[in-house]
Each structure stands twice: as C-alpha cells, then as structure tokens.
C-alpha cells in the first residue's frame, strides 16, 4: 500500500482559514448564511467545533509566554488524522469507513453509511460528525476524489515545485503560507523533523516544546504535524488511546456467527435423532388418581396417597415407570 500524508506546520500557519473555506468549496459543504447564524465562539475560532458540514477547523488557543510582551498563539488543525489502524473503520458496521489502499487515508462511502454514529464514539480524536438532515457521518476524506484525478505527487517542500492542481487535498492546495503539504509519508516526516530541529535551534525565538505529532501516536497517522508549542495547546490529546472495547466489538461478529452456527448444527443433530419418535397418548383419571397409557392401558403413575398394586409404600416413586410417555 502506498503511504501518503498531509503535513501541517503550525509554526507557519497564519490561521487564515483558507483551508476551511477550500474544504467547504470542494466538498460542497454549506455554511450558515443568515444574520448571526453562527453561534458566537468568543474566539477567532469559527465554528467552535467540527460539525456535519465542517470537516476541518483551525483551533485557536492563546497562552502566556512568560515574557513581558506577546502571547503564544497556537493555531492547530482539527480534522481527521487518518490513523493507520482507524478505530472508526473497525467499528463501522456497514463498511462505510475503510482504509484507502492507494493512500492509507480513511475513506467515507456515503452511500453505505447508515448513520449509526459508532465511529464518533470510537474515534480517539473525536472527529466524525453526524449530519442530521442526511443521516450520514461527515469527516475529512483526504479529498481522495481530487487525488485520484491527478494521481498522488511528491511534494518537495521548499524547492518551489508546483503542485498539480488536482493532485492534492483542497486544504493543502489553498494554504497561502505553505503550512500544509501533501506527499509520501516518509517525506512528510522528514520535513517535519527538519522543521522541528530548526524551531528548537532558532537563535532569536527558540521553541523548546516543538515536536512532531502523528509519527508515533496510535502507531502513526496520515496527518503529520509540526507543533511549535506543547501538544495540549493545539486541542490534541498528548497520548491518544483507542478504547479497548473497539477490539472486543470486532470479535462480536465472528463470535455471533459461530455461536448461531453451532446452535443450529447441534439442534440439527437433535432433530435427526428425534425423527420417528412417537409419543404415547396418556390420560389422567382424577377419581382413581392414576395416569394411564391409553394404548396399552398400563398405569404409568399413581398417587402415593392411594395404596394399590402399582403404588406400595414408596407410592409415587414405584408407580413411575422407567419408560414414560414415548418410544
């Protein structure tokens, strides 16, 4: 499988939100147009979170920089991380979410989505969002349709090589400062490490917390980030974990099939052994307190309260035949 990644450099991001707009344009995702239709977020971040029509947002967070001037302003990319082993795809009961063989991205087949929202529960980054009107899950697809048109191309960051218009995700294509790139994951990781080394060693404004995100998290993701400030300031989990229940859920389908098949097989054998079974016709005489076989007249049971030839001291016990009711 080819292995591609979206590269995001938070130290270059200007939070222009061009990526948000490009994503909406390419994927034909509407925005509220009414007056004050967007709820106030008290931040430059808008909308406040991902939603059924918004697959990517720029996360804003201001933190004290321990200096007399300025702040550490973290601009984070909040969108699908396209995990190597996506928990969303593993719990998807309809196969709507699956790993794309060409890129490694997690594709969404809308026609297969049944809107169960299990993916939303399983995602360690809380990314998939439900589109109520369409009853479908919406999340970043990595613009696989664009990439398929142009074919994945290698992006040589910093060399000025022009990116083919339809060969990269819409967000990458739109990014004015070049904070977003797309290409083979190895190459994106190399760029990320180079950039982190540069940020840490910067002579005027060194960034001791600079790190690469997405290389080791969850065994790797297909979004590789350069984070200038601590991870938490970008709205990202420092140590994302897949809920272990997702693994158990994966076992349930084969287990159910096996259990049902074993039950049917066992009952099939039971049915065959029962073929030809004939049950005796029985009658209970409530006056004599006797249960008799109507075909043979044999007394099968007699109350121990009634002494007689078939019911001695042990009464009911002795009266009960070894063979009862069928042959």
């Amino acid at each position: 499988m080819a292995d591609y990644a979206i590269f995001f450099d938070s130290s270059k991001c200007t939070a222009c939100k061009g990526c948000q707009v490009a994503c909406k344009c390419w994927n034909q995702l509407p925005s509220p147009l009414g007056l004050n239709a967007n709820k106030p977020t008290h931040s430059y971040q808008s909308p406040l979170d991902l939603n059924g029509d918004t697959r990517i947002i720029i996360h804003f967070e201001e933190n004290d920089n321990d200096k007399l001037w300025g702040v550490n302003w973290s601009f984070g990319r909040r969108s699908c991380m396209h995990c190597y082993d996506p928990a969303c795809a593993s719990v998807c009961p309809s196969g709507a979410l699956a790993v794309d063989g060409e890129t490694g991205f997690v594709r969404v087949s809308e026609s297969k989505c049944i809107g169960c929202k299990y993916c939303k529960s399983a995602c360690p980054f809380d990314v998939p969002r439900y589109h109520g009107a369409q009853s479908k899950i919406n999340k970043c697809t990595g613009c696989l349709d664009r990439i398929a048109n142009g074919g994945p191309v290698s992006i040589n960051g910093g060399t000025g090589q022009t990116q083919a218009q339809f060969s990269v995700p819409a967000c990458v294509h739109s990014c004015p400062p070049g904070a977003l790139k797309f290409g083979p994951r190895d190459e994106m990781l190399r760029l990320a490490h180079e950039r982190v080394a540069y940020l840490k060693a910067h002579e005027i404004d060194p960034s001791p917390h600079a790190s690469v995100y997405g290389e080791d998290q969850l065994n790797g993701t297909h979004v590789v980030m350069v984070l200038k400030y601590p991870v938490e300031t970008y709205g990202l989990p420092a140590n994302p974990q897949v809920n272990p229940l997702t693994g158990l859920l994966g076992l349930m389908k084969p287990l159910t099939g096996l259990a049902a098949a074993a039950t049917v097989a066992g009952l099939g054998i039971s049915f065959l052994t029962g073929l030809g079974y004939k049950r005796d016709k029985m009658h209970y005489d409530e006056k004599k307190h006797e249960q008799v076989d109507l075909d043979t007249g044999e007394v099968l049971w007699r109350s121990d309260a009634v002494p007689g030839p078939a019911g001695d001291e042990d009464g009911e016990k002795d009266a009960r035949p070894a063979k009862k009711g069928g042959k």
Partner: protein, 230 residues
C-alpha cells in the same frame, strides 16, 4: 372427547406473540445494520428505513411486555413464583438428562415437571436477562444517537452490551423456537399453545408437565372437554 387444559391466557399469548414477532423482525433488521454485506445489497434509503424500523420495533419489544405486566400484576407474581420456585429432585434430574434427551429422546425419559420446567426456567431466565440487557443498551444507543450526546466510552460499552446480549438472545432464542414451535419431535404441537388458543391436550400436558397437569386436572377449573373432529 379430548380433554384440554387452559395453559395461557389471551393476554399472555398476545404479549408473547407480539414480542416474538418483534424479536424476529428486530433480528432481521439488526442484521442489516450488523452485517456490511447485507447492508450493501440495498440502497442507502432502504437501509435507513430498516434502521428506523429497528428502533420502532425496539420500542414495541420493550413496551408490550411492560404494559402487559402493568395490566396483570398478579400474572407477573405468578410468573416469578414459578421461575423462582425451589428446585426438587425432578427438576435436578431434568437438567441432568436434558442433553442426552435432546440427542436421544427415544432412549432417555424425562421426569415429571411442574408448571415451568427447570430447563425452561434456566433458558427463559437467560432470555429474560439478555432481553433486559438488549433493551437497556438499546435505549442508551437510541437516546445517545438521536437526542443527546452521551460519553463515547459509554456508547461503545452499550454497543458491546447490545452485541453480547444479541449472541445470548440468538443462541437461546433459536433453541426456544426449536422446542417451543415443536420442531423437535417430542415437542410437536407445542407451538399451538402460545400461537393458538392457549390450550394443551391432557396427554401433551402430562408428558411435558406431569406434576402440573395432574394438579390442574384434579382442580378441574382449567379443564375443557372438546369433541374430537371426525
């Protein structure tokens, strides 16, 4: 003339039968959610309709027994007293012989039973528990995917509980149908009791629930004589 014993009231039969139909339809509609291959056979609008039907049927599955229980509290008390009745020697023997009997009814003969067989108590007990679990988890899944946003971990747990309960329900439900519908030769005509007029012939009652049949015939109030059809 054939004597019959009234075993199940009309309310019991309606409750049972509606729940059974809901269960079967729930299983079928659930499979379209559970199995991608089935889901992919149909257009998304059809699978959406099936998923919505699953929810409506789920409400029927929960509401019908609840309403029935509210309408007949004495019946619930009677049911519970039967299911939690103290086990006697025959009950234990029944369980010990159950598997050999299922695989050789001509060779193995079962002891007399009270109104609810000991095996029935265990199997139905699992069905009740699985039904309860599937209902509770189903409510959480319905509410958490429709009305409010619940904790992601809780939703995954509820889905696992729903799946585990379904496995139990499927296994014991198939066995219940095998015996209850009279597919197993010695259980022939059993299906008519719940899906028919609620009566069981004296002979069948003596075969399946010897203690209960004799006690009921002695009392006489639930015994009906019907002229045989020529």
């Amino acid at each position: 003339m054939t004597r019959y014993i009234k075993r199940h009231t009309l309310q019991t039969r309606i409750t049972h039968d509606v729940t059974v139909i809901a269960c079967i339809l729930l299983a079928i509609s659930g499979l379209f959610v559970f199995v991608p291959a089935l889901n992919n056979l149909l257009p998304s609008s059809a699978t959406f309709a099936i998923r919505m039907a699953h929810r409506v049927l789920g409400i029927v599955f929960i509401a019908v027994p609840l309403i029935s229980a509210i309408l007949a509290p004495k019946g619930v008390k009677h049911l519970l007293s039967n299911y939690f009745a103290r086990w006697d020697k025959d009950d234990v023997t029944f369980i010990k012989r159950f598997l050999p009997y299922m695989l050789g009814p001509k060779r193995v003969h079962m002891p007399d039973q009270h109104e609810v067989k000991s095996g029935q108590r265990l199997a139905d007990g699992v069905l009740f528990l699985a039904g309860f679990l599937i209902a509770i988890s189903g409510v959480f899944l319905l509410v958490g995917t429709t009305f409010v946003t619940l904790d992601a971990g809780l939703m995954l747990f509820m889905r696992l509980a729903h799946d585990v309960a379904f496995v139990l329900f499927a296994v014991f439900g198939i066995a219940h149908i095998y015996l209850g519908a009279g597919v197993f030769q010695p259980y022939r005509r059993m299906g008519k009791t719940m899906f028919g007029n609620g009566m069981i012939s004296e002979s069948d009652a003596l075969y399946h629930w010897g203690h209960w049949a004799r006690e009921t015939i002695e009392k006489g109030d639930k015994v009906v004589e019907v002229e045989d059809k020529k």
